[in-house]
């Protein structure tokens, strides 16, 4: 059985807007960090939503498997149970549902009752500490009235609590100030040295700021619904200094279609 998060020839559309993904091939392995970079509108977030099972995204063709299990026919909760996690760029607020309740419900859904209430509490408090979050956070309603930084911290907290096999981080670094980025970056570093050491990451980012915390093993560049270039960390550094224009020109010159 093929291990890894495997995407092959994935074509995705949303209703009336035509094909956004035009054949994506990608393989993320456990414990590895892949960065998916590209200009705005290149289809990065669409890939994230399509893999997580958002109902607005229709699969035209292609497939995706998680450690050999077909993903695309499954409802979003079943994908999460297989070990997939999406950190949202714009997480939804769920008024009236406390962070504590949400975390416990999610953990139980994904892992069953593997922890006693006391163990669960210890885990949550450890992670709050890593993320520099006050415990009063637990009594607040999920993302309701949260600042941008608080939302991203809650995504990281969930990532740490669920410790998925594969995590897609959609623009986790966007909209964060330097301090918030630092906290999120350090939490990822901590996660990588602990519960998340076997997690395979697909880190979607427009700017490579977050990559100073997580050195990618592989960097993919996406443009117009396709992955046009794959390289190592050096590619990210190149984008940081040059932007996307040079790569766009190279791709055009090589006649990639």
């Amino acid at each position: 059985m093929a291990s890894g998060l495997n995407v092959s020839d994935l074509h995705v559309t949303t209703g009336d807007s035509g094909e956004i993904l035009k054949g994506i091939d990608l393989k993320v392995e456990r414990g590895r960090i892949h960065a998916l970079m590209g200009p705005n509108g290149s289809g990065k977030s669409t890939l994230a939503f399509a893999l997580a099972g958002h109902p607005s995204y229709q699969i035209v063709r292609g497939n995706a498997t998680l450690d050999g299990e077909e993903l695309l026919a499954l409802s979003p909760d079943k994908r999460a149970k297989l070990g997939l996690f999406l950190s949202f760029q714009y997480p939804a607020a769920i008024p009236g549902v406390t962070v504590a309740n949400f975390l416990r419900t999610a953990r139980t859904a994904v892992r069953g009752s593997d922890l006693t209430p006391a163990q669960f509490r210890t885990l949550v408090f450890e992670q709050l500490d890593h993320l520099g979050i006050d415990t009063s956070f637990l009594g607040r309603y999920v993302n309701d009235g949260f600042s941008g930084g608080e939302k991203k911290r809650l995504e990281m907290l969930q990532l740490a609590i669920l410790a998925p096999k594969y995590a897609i981080l959609d623009e986790t670094d966007s909209g964060l100030d330097v301090d918030a980025l630092g906290a999120v970056g350090e939490s990822l570093t901590t996660l990588r040295s602990g519960a998340g050491k076997d997690t395979g990451f697909l880190i979607i980012t427009h700017y490579p700021r977050i990559l100073q915390y997580l050195e990618p093993d592989v960097v993919h560049v996406m443009m117009d619904g396709r992955i046009v270039k794959t390289g190592d960390a050096e590619l990210a550094h190149r984008i940081e200094s040059e932007g996307y224009d040079n790569i766009r020109d190279e791709v055009a010159a090589s006649g990639a279609a």
Partner: protein, 383 residues
């Protein structure tokens, strides 16, 4: 206001019944959604059962002179207070079922808070309702500067079919009353209630009302802020499911300036449940400096369920703050997807989101135990 002895005379009963028969039935006109036709209910054939009230009163409250007893025995000892209070907030002539209550009631519950008495432990009133028809009547007289929380519950005998209730609260200067009522009667019961309170200078009246049971439940709640500094909150929740019809009206009536009200209703309907809610804010001419808000949100959890939500603002003064906001709709797709992406299955996610939706009204209920009970009952409707 029309006065009627709390336990009416024969002649008073006849007059009340005669009036009741001339008044139109409350609730929506029967139609596509509302399947209940009350015109077929012959009032003269409604057979009274009985109401027996039990009171849980802390030693502290007893020591401080709080009276919580049934009206039958109270009417002798506390006649002056009762006479002064009864009919203040509710005019029994105002509707078909208030008049019926006046015609048929035998007893009721009476709570009296002496001047300046503040008690922390809630007073729990359990009304045992014997059928076929029960006519509870609750009278709360809060003297100047008193403060208490009252939790009322029904207990239905198996033969119960109809309930017509009146609740009347008078909060004098600087008094503060929180009154919570949870209606969880069996599905065959029809319940009609009228709950009203008068709020004096710098006094406060907080309603927390839940309609969970009964096949038909029609109620109106009203707070009247009589003098400057009076504040009221009217918080309610209802959740009709299969076979249930709910029709509620709330009114924050501001005859006096510099008074405040906050009305918040959260409702859901599922499995063919039907409801209507009419939320009123009434600011009388010259009631300047009123601050009134009305928030009313409805959640439809199945296509065959229906909620009509009608905010109504009648504003007669210029220098006021009045706000109303209403929403109606299904569970938000993005919220649902977010929860499901965390491994939570659709059904559990919907239940969690719906329960959260009720929370702003739920938190107005006075004890955590009661709130937990309500959460359990609400969750049970999303089977």
């Amino acid at each position: 206001m029309a006065q009627l002895s709390v336990v009416p005379s024969r002649a008073g009963r006849d007059e009340a019944l005669a009036l009741a028969r001339t008044l139109p039935p409350p609730g929506p006109v029967p139609g596509r959604y509302w399947k209940i036709d009350l015109t077929k209910l012959a009032l003269e054939e409604v057979e009274p059962g009985s109401v027996t009230s039990r009171f849980a009163l802390s030693d502290e409250a007893k020591r401080k002179g709080v009276i919580a007893t049934d009206l039958g025995s109270a009417s002798r000892e506390h006649e002056a207070v009762i006479t002064a209070t009864e009919g203040n907030a509710v005019d029994w002539r105002s509707g078909r079922f208030t008049a019926l209550n006046a015609a048929r009631r035998e007893n009721g519950a009476f709570i009296f808070l002496p001047k300046g008495v503040v008690i922390e432990e809630p007073i729990v009133v359990t009304q045992r309702l014997e059928g076929p028809a029960a006519f509870p009547y609750v009278l709360v007289a809060a003297s100047e500067g008193s403060r208490a929380t009252i939790i009322t519950r029904y207990e239905a005998a198996p033969d119960l079919e109809l309930v017509s209730e009146i609740v009347e609260i008078v909060a004098l200067e600087h008094a503060s009353i929180t009154y919570s009522a949870v209606q969880d009667l069996p599905a065959n019961v029809r319940v009609f209630w009228s709950r009203r309170g008068n709020v004096g200078r710098d006094a406060e009246l907080n309603w927390a009302l839940a309609e969970l049971g009964a096949g038909v439940s029609i109620g109106d709640v009203k707070s009247t802020t009589l003098e400057a500094g009076a504040r009221t909150t009217i918080a309610g929740l209802f959740f009709p499911n299969k076979g249930q019809h709910v029709d509620l009206q709330s009114e924050a009536d501001h005859p006096a300036g510099k008074t405040q009200s906050e009305t918040i209703f959260k409702s859901a309907a599922i499995d063919g449940g039907q409801a209507r809610f009419i939320g009123n804010i009434r600011i009388r001419p010259s009631a300047h400096g009123v601050d009134a808000t009305l928030r009313d949100d409805a959640l439809l959890l199945s296509k065959d369920s229906h909620i009509d939500s009608i905010p109504a603002l009648e504003i007669g003064a210029n220098d006021v703050k009045a706000f109303h906001g209403a929403t109606i709709g299904a569970i938000d797709d993005e919220e649902l997807f977010y929860a499901m992406s965390r491994g939570i299955d659709r059904h559990e996610a919907e239940r969690m989101i719906a329960l959260g939706f009720f929370e702003p009204a739920l938190v107005r209920f006075p004890t955590e135990r009661l709130r937990e009970e309500l959460r359990g009952a609400l969750a049970g409707k999303i089977a």
